[in-house]
Symmetry: C2
DNA sequence: TTGTACGCGTTATCAC
DNA sequence: GTGATAACGCGTACAA
């Protein structure tokens, strides 16, 4: 393809020529910065619109060596959790003029790294990652480049840059203590396999501690992977050894807990008389159930909003708190009871 | 900020200097194109890695006047539908080397247009929009620029460029005919207000026709907006005039249908004996229920994958079908029965 | 208030 | 096989 003078897209130069002014006058007019008389500005803005001129962000980014792109990596959007986080974030970033380059990693650090590398090639203004554990090479690079980085959902005392999330160990602990205090002593857990969802592993740890503290039986753990969470919950319940007589089952999420509860009832067990069911996240689903699921509400949308705001502050040269730990709210529900 | 020779990020020039070759040799080496001896290529690639050189996509996009960015606009991610579509799409585009600039419009054409304008400034390789109805100015611009555009979820004989989706009117018709054939004659519908979700409006139209064809009573319509779909479904059911004695209620989605079913049971109605419940989409949720919801399965993931593949073909200069209409599958369920 | 010169980091082209 | 040069579209710095 020959390198002809100009393609079909018209640039700032064309507008300048047509208006009989210099390129810079057009640039200033369009951007709305000082240095142009109101008269010429109006004339030029109108002309630009008529000619169908649209600024080229890539060229601008190159010229000012910074962009209005923000990379966002989420593990999945197939449950309400990260969709909530994302919608809170996007709204806030959008209003500040940022576009989002997004992907989901499926909890795979390698995919996260590959996405990050591709995204970093666009010299984004910042990166938003989920969790606080990442591919070591990626982490090192981000540290070295001093790129503004927001880590969400989890918190750590040693973030790459800033983080906004909840204390998952504490959340697991709080939820499990509530249940343990009701007298349950034969707990089971249905969730992701160890090492996949690191936040879930933290919560599991809290659960183990809470039940150990009351001298309960060791927590049985069942792992399920992928697929729809309702189905996974039902399938996970099916994998439990019922002869083992668990008296309460904790699930990775409310959706899974619901699926598990359905499976329990299908197996002839009544909830909570025969077995207790506990979820996680406090999704709205549970509010429409005749028997609300015992769970703990995570501030998902707030994580998104607060995270975005904190990041924006950071981008504006301020020095926001590096670590923001948001509270969760226990929701007792009716799928467990005094034993 | 002074315009010093070079900032901290190192560019292709630095590598060239360090390697004692010209910039073009580095460029060719990195890109893996012909014109460099294997020896120097290897030397340079290694050196570049050591020096921490990373290509700048903005500069490349500027030079070649085309990018590897694809814009994706979805109405929402707060239900499984578009999350499914997206995951199918992303995976396919990702493998082809494209990054996604994403946003959700909340069914607002103005927001879609604003997002599109901002995204177009990055000179994306293509745009993916949901539905076939958009802001007229946006549509005109896309037509004029001849940008590859994929419209998903809905189909039309007159797409901007190419479209992959389902026939919503037909889906509504099929589902409603199935229900009407069972003897139901007092239908109601709980969904979005007219004019908001245009695809839903099409389905409603199919429903109206199916029931008119059997001489049933006019379909009662209840509108709910925003919020969680489970809650909206329950709330929508609550708005029905029960003295009006509807015998079957269609919902916008399966999630809403579930919420509605819960509300029905809370109101003392048994499903399907007192009232029938019908959903839409065939989400996995319904498979774990003791009584699967009568619904119609939409090929969400396939829309994403097929759409992405079609778009890629288009980007590769091929001429794929402009319109791809994917089939839906009726799922009879057990929330309606012979009357 | 307006214009000129240069650089941002990369690739296409053509000459060597 | 390798290099010099001119774009790509725009913004900064400084002169007029």
């Amino acid at each position: 393809m020959p390198r002809g003078r100009s393609t079909d897209t018209i640039g700032i130069n064309d507008v300048a020529r047509a208006a009989g002014v210099s390129l810079m006058t057009v640039s200033r007019s369009i951007r709305g910065v000082d240095g142009v008389s109101d008269a010429t500005r109006q004339r030029i803005v109108r002309l630009a619109r008529e000619m169908g001129y649209f600024p080229n962000s890539a060229a601008r980014a190159l010229a000012v060596t910074n962009s209005t792109l923000i990379g966002i990596s989420l593990p999945t959007l197939l449950n309400d959790v990260f969709a909530d986080v994302l919608s809170g974030m996007r709204r806030t970033l959008d209003r500040a003029g940022y576009s989002s380059v997004m992907d989901t990693s499926d909890y795979d650090p390698a995919r996260e790294r590959e996405w990050a590398e591709r995204t970093l090639a666009w010299r984004p203004a910042a990166l938003i990652l989920t969790g606080t554990t990442h591919d070591p090479a990626l982490r090192a690079r981000l540290l070295r480049e001093r790129l503004p980085v927001l880590e969400i959902w989890d918190v750590t005392d040693d973030p790459i840059d800033i983080c906004v999330g909840i204390d998952h160990l504490d959340a697991g602990l709080t939820l499990a203590r509530h249940v343990a205090a009701l007298g349950y002593r034969r707990p089971a857990w249905v969730g992701a396999p160890p090492g996949l969802d690191l936040r879930a592993d933290q919560r599991f740890r809290g659960l183990v501690r809470a039940f150990r503290d009351v001298g309960a039986r060791e927590v049985r753990r069942v792992s399920v992977t992928g697929g729809n969470s309702f189905v996974a919950g039902a399938g996970g319940f099916g994998q439990l050894d019922l002869r083992d007589r668990p008296d309460v089952v904790f699930f990775l999420t409310d959706n899974m807990a619901f699926g598990g509860m359905m499976a329990a009832q299908k197996a002839g067990l009544s909830v909570p008389d025969d077995i207790g069911i506990v979820g996680f996240n406090g999704l709205d689903l549970t509010t429409v159930l005749p028997r609300p699921i015992t769970t703990i509400r995570t501030p998902r949308r707030q994580i998104g909003v607060t995270g975005a705001k904190t990041l924006l502050a950071r981008l504006n040269g301020l020095h926001p708190d590096a670590v923001t730990r948001l509270p969760c709210e226990l929701m007792p529900g009716a799928t467990v009871r005094m034993r």
